[in-house]
């Protein structure tokens, strides 16, 4: 039944009502969704579970979107962040933090665009993971370990990248 990949999305916004409805829509779209209401909560959740894409509001009480993104990236380097902003222009948002977000989107959200962007961000993540995985696998082979050692090392990598 799964011609579509299971994309795990982490939502972070202090507007609870917004997330309530956005989660419902994204769930129906077939995403796996976790909603969190602050940067702190998101960081905590992300240290226990892997996500593919995070959708972060730029302006939040506590740690803001840019800082949240930075901390999330530290925990999960492959996680792609989409930053939402109410600013008049995306450039302003870019000025406020060069934390290489996957994309900046304006609020109110253009839903179709968001769904599309989440899918693109997921593709980017997969590419990055595969690239890095390949690199490390090659390194393991080059390292001259025995067959058993290689298998063990690769299994560890699999675990690390969340590949089953």
């Amino acid at each position: 039944m799964t011609d579509k990949p299971d994309i795990k999305v982490l939502l972070i916004d202090d507007e609870q009502t917004l997330l309530e409805y956005l989660s419902k829509r994204l769930l129906r779209e077939g995403f796996t969704v976790k909603a969190t209401f602050s940067g702190e909560e998101a960081v905590e959740v992300a240290s226990n579970e892997n996500y593919d894409v995070a959708v972060v509001d730029l302006k939040m009480p506590g740690i803001d979107g840019v800082e949240t993104q930075k901390r999330l990236k530290k925990i999960q380097p492959f996680l792609q962040c989409i930053v939402l902003t109410g600013h008049g222009s995306v450039e302003t948002a870019l000025e406020s933090g060069q934390q290489d977000a996957f994309k900046y989107l304006l609020k109110p959200i253009d839903y179709e665009n968001l769904v599309e962007t989440i899918k693109e961000a997921y593709q980017k993540k997969i590419e990055l993971v595969n690239e890095k995985f390949k690199e490390q696998v090659e390194e393991i082979y080059r390292s001259g370990l025995g067959a058993k050692g290689i298998k063990k090392a690769i299994n560890e990598l699999r675990k690390l990248y969340g590949i089953d």
Partner: protein, 384 residues
């Protein structure tokens, strides 16, 4: 008793003194005349009835009349409100002098000239009133500058407030947007709805989403308007930017019968400015031109983009052959929220944003318009 010689000597002395006084008097009069005639202020004197007996060169400049034209006229008739001026004269007569910081006069060509007026009542040695002297400084330009400053200040303030409100409204707007989106999927999936009800509901929710989009456009424009970010200057080709802008506007132009005419100067123009900000200005001006042409039903539309290098700036002129701007609208088109477009199309933000951007870039924006012929907006971008 003094001898005749002595008397003669005395007479000679007195007449010498007299003639030296005469010379001095002449010089003083010349000196005063010189001051009077060279002053930029309007200085006048009247007789006891208020009829002009003297009128300075400055006065000729301020009111536009020659001395010969005003001689023998009542000074009060040159004031916009003669009765008010008469009251000022009466105050001066009872108190010796009178001052008014801002009194409007009528210039010969009809426009109003604002003057800072001080009147002094002339009295003779017996203390009788013999006339009036007035010194009037033309403060029209100063007043206009003052008003402009207030206007710019107010505009900036309105901009800040509006952006604050826009920001606050943007969040609930985002929520309405999500709820409406969710509602539309629920309506789609709902079982037990008659087709008629389903259509009715999805149409209604569709309208909510549409209107949210409309609000979104406004809040984003407002936030962009008050954005304090400094221009990011880079080097670019102006002609290329203008061509790109037209490509960007293709969707707007698609189904309209409008010719775009590029009338660029031969040599390419390399500029150092903020191309993104300028693009926003061009997009706004060309969109306005497109809307103007659509307003006029008959005839083919034509928008001309012209560039010209001046000594220290580049001029971009955007002309349309639309209906032109009405006289009454001309003064207000740069006002925030002032629009002549139908609701949903115009927000009254486009031109104030353009003006704001050009101010930031050290340039200028101006327009010429003739009813029935069209409008030309001219943008001046500084070269250095």
């Amino acid at each position: 008793m003094a001898s005749i010689e002595q008397l003669e000597e005395k007479l000679k002395k007195i007449s010498r003194e007299l003639s030296s006084h005469k010379i001095e008097l002449h010089q003083t009069r010349g000196y005063l005349q010189c001051i009077l005639q060279n002053s930029n202020d309007m200085i006048f004197a009247t007789d006891v009835d208020g009829i002009l007996v003297s009128f300075s060169k400055g006065g000729e400049k301020v009111l536009g009349y020659h001395w010969q034209e005003v001689a023998g006229n009542f000074i009060k008739h040159f004031a916009v409100d003669p009765k008010d001026f008469e009251r000022l004269i009466r105050t001066s007569q009872t108190q010796g002098s009178a001052v008014r910081l801002e009194l409007p006069f009528r210039h010969k060509d009809g426009h109003t000239v604002y003057c800072d007026v001080s009147l002094i009542t002339l009295t003779n040695t017996k203390g009788q009133n013999v006339g009036l002297v007035g010194v009037c400084r033309d403060i029209t330009a100063w007043k206009k500058l003052q008003e402009d400053l207030i206007r710019v200040d107010r505009l900036a303030e309105i901009g800040r407030i509006a952006a604050g409100i826009a920001h606050e409204i943007n969040n609930p707007l985002a929520i309405i947007n999500e709820i409406a989106g969710w509602a539309s999927t629920v309506v789609e999936d709902a079982k037990g709805l008659s087709n008629e009800d389903r259509d009715e509901l999805s149409k209604a929710v569709g309208h909510i989403i549409e209107q949210t989009k409309r609000c979104r456009a406004i809040t984003h424009q407002l936030l962009g308007f008050s954005r304090d970010s400094a221009p990011e200057k880079t080097e670019f080709d102006l002609h290329e930017l203008l061509r790109k802008t037209i490509v960007f506007l293709q969707p707007e132009l698609k189904y309209k019968d409008i010719d775009i005419v590029f009338n660029f100067q031969d040599k390419p123009i390399q500029l150092r400015s903020d191309p993104k900000m300028l693009e926003q200005v061009f997009v706004n001006l060309i969109t306005n031109a497109i809307h103007a042409i659509s307003d006029k039903n008959n005839g083919k539309g034509r928008i001309e983009l012209r560039t010209m290098c001046m000594e220290n700036y580049v001029e971009v002129a955007i002309s349309d052959n639309g209906p032109g701007i009405k006289e009454a609208d001309k003064e207000r088109i740069f006002d925030l929220f002032y629009t002549t477009k139908p609701p949903g199309i115009g927000t009254g933000l486009g031109l104030p944003i353009c003006q704001n951007i050009m101010k930031k870039l050290g340039g200028k924006i101006a327009f010429e318009s003739q009813i029935g012929l069209g409008t030309t907006f001219k943008v001046a971008i500084p070269l250095s």
